[in-house]
């Protein structure tokens, strides 16, 4: 079995084994996550019926858990395309082990993220007013609003990521086509577009993939920049700062990488993909994690320096409030998760310990969620007018919808692992010859 064909056949069997008849544990996981999803949808339905008041958001904190979730999920969405596109352009070979997973994560995270702007709308049934389409009212949207940029950025990101993911999958779908029969085969026949792997197909395919990677890379950066501008474009002390774009991009990559680790560590074990996803691959990821953690920490410091150096009363008051005010525990917990714990990765032993990495990635996920929460909520809670100061406590509805978003994400992700090849077979073939 030393022939290339033999190696490839083995590879295909290994990867496609994950698509075999699912085990009980899969069904259990699916049931739990879809139940969470259903709970979230139920909460949302109740919120639509009663009004946004069922959530805890209030004056002056008009954005709370929902926007936190939105930024969190957009952040999660970042690593997928980053790992795929940027590492592709850098010819970083270790990307092949999890680019498919990461891209799938991107798609599902963007889908999840995309729901939150709708959920947080007071009248979500009118969400289509956010799109510039010709209508009888002769009205357009306000292109000066960062929220419209969001609409464009997130939908572009979704579209391009979907194309990127799909294109990368076409040759693999053609492989699956070979292994399936009946209706299932029909579906794969349609979605593999009749791929044959001729030399011109490969030539165009290679160029397309490269262009998409080249387009996606600035897109990745722009999307989270735009998300950060939702805040930076405002006048709210604590939001209105120029470092937000790079700060948020780094934060997104940080949280996205953590989420990749969170997802791939168990997946690797469950689907026995140890041959293809090695500890060294994780070590590379851990280094990204460490690097971005330090950028994020640097940003935290710069924020404070900017505020205090500027001498701007409102900024100074805000940053004192952020670290010593109503949300101080969340703030210090965030620092622990995002700045202190990742420093342990400097120790080689730890960054090669998958269990440790997995636990650390969970902390980072929590920390990054808290970061967004702290930025959003504490900035709004005390801004200019002392009379209007207030605090915000999330309600069960918000918790339910957040839970539902995790449910949705994992539901889609579980279905993905079952119905699509979780590794890029073709690319592994390419490097393993």
């Amino acid at each position: 079995m030393s022939s290339l064909k033999g190696t490839f056949d083995q590879l295909e069997r290994d990867v496609l084994a994950a698509m075999a008849k699912p085990k009980k544990s899969f069904w259990l996981a699916l049931a739990v996550s879809s139940l969470m999803f259903a709970v979230g949808m139920g909460c949302w339905g109740w919120q639509i019926y009663k009004g946004l008041g069922v959530a805890g958001i209030t004056n002056p904190v008009g954005w709370g858990v929902y926007i936190t979730d939105f930024v969190f999920w957009v952040g999660i969405a970042h690593s997928g395309t980053l790992i795929s596109a940027v590492l592709f352009l850098f010819r970083a070979k270790f990307r092949n082990s999890f680019n498919r997973t990461a891209e799938a994560m991107t798609i599902f995270a963007v889908m999840t993220a995309g729901l939150f702007p709708l959920i947080h709308l007071g009248r979500c049934w009118l969400f289509y007013w956010l799109f510039p389409y010709p209508n009888q009212r002769l009205l357009w949207v306000n292109f000066r609003s960062p929220l419209v940029w969001d609409v464009f950025a997130v939908s572009t990101y979704f579209t391009v990521s979907l194309i990127f993911w799909y294109v990368g999958m076409v040759p693999d779908l053609a492989i699956v086509r070979r292994y399936t029969t009946g209706v299932k085969q029909w579906i794969f026949r349609i979605f593999s577009l009749g791929w044959r792997g001729t030399r011109y197909q490969w030539e165009h395919y290679g160029k397309l993939y490269m262009f998409l990677a080249a387009l996606a890379t600035p897109l990745v950066i722009s999307v989270h920049s735009v998300v950060s501008w939702d805040f930076a474009m405002s006048v709210v002390p604590g939001w209105h700062t120029t470092i937000f774009a790079p700060y948020f991009v780094a934060g997104a990559i940080f949280s996205g990488t953590a989420m990749v680790i969170t997802l791939v560590v168990p997946m690797r074990r469950i689907f026995n993909l140890e041959t293809y996803i090695t500890v060294s691959h994780f070590e590379s990821l851990a280094k990204i994690l460490l690097f971005t953690s330090m950028i994020v920490t640097y940003s935290y410091i710069v924020e404070y320096v900017l505020a205090f150096y500027s001498g701007h009363e409102f900024e100074i008051a805000h940053f004192l409030y952020r670290s010593f005010g109503d949300y101080k525990y969340l703030y210090w917990l965030m620092l622990l998760c995002n700045s202190l714990l990742p420093l342990t990765i400097f120790v080689k032993k730890l960054r090669r310990n998958l269990t440790y990495l997995f636990i650390l990635s969970l902390f980072v996920n929590v920390g990054m969620w808290l970061e967004r929460f702290v930025i959003i909520v504490s900035s709004l809670a005390k801004d200019y007018d002392p009379y209007a100061w207030g605090t915000y406590t999330p309600t069960l509805i918000e918790a339910g919808i957040t839970l539902g978003s995790f449910g949705m994400f994992f539901t889609f992700f579980l279905l993905f692992t079952k119905y699509l090849p979780v590794l890029s077979i073709t690319e592994i073939k390419e490097i393993s010859e």
């Binding site: 056949d9 464009f152 577009l193 030399r199 197909q201 735009v226």
Partner: protein
């Protein structure tokens, strides 16, 4: 009638290919099917560089121009002042133009790819093509 060779190893496949081209077979008459892109074969066969870049360029340029044109058109169509900013405020419009550049660039690249690679191939969807597994295949079109 066409001829067909199948190989389990890439090296054998490349050797045969080189042999055929050196033997005077017109590369246009040779079609290969491989489990992954084999760039050496492209060198041997002098495969044309893909014209996909023109699609991408067209898409990005369209997106860029459309982004500015559309945003400027809408503010002129119903001029509404917000935040004391001028009607045509280019910095925010740049964001839209940028996103549209990427979006149309991406979409047109994909469309271009489908067109150039003749996908989706209806024939191959309705009737699955003959599968060669993970073999490297050379087909030579014979003279009719």
């Amino acid at each position: 009638m066409s001829k067909q060779w199948m190989f389990d190893e890439k090296a054998d496949f490349l050797a045969k290919l080189r042999e055929l081209v050196d033997g005077g077979v017109d590369p246009h008459d040779l079609e290969t099917m491989t489990p992954f892109p084999v760039h050496e074969a492209d060198h041997i066969l002098h495969t044309r560089t893909s014209r996909l870049r023109f699609f991408t360029l067209a898409g990005t340029l369209t997106g860029l121009i459309a982004g500015f044109a559309f945003t400027i058109f809408t503010v002129m169509d119903w001029p509404l002042i917000t935040g004391g900013k001028p009607l045509i405020s280019l910095p925010p419009f740049l964001v839209i133009a940028f996103e549209l550049t990427i979006l149309l660039g991406g979409i047109l690249s994909f469309v271009g790819f489908l067109a150039l690679a003749r996908l989706p191939s209806v024939k191959n969807v309705l009737q699955p093509p003959k599968e060669y597994g993970n073999r490297f295949v050379i087909q030579q079109r014979g003279e009719e």
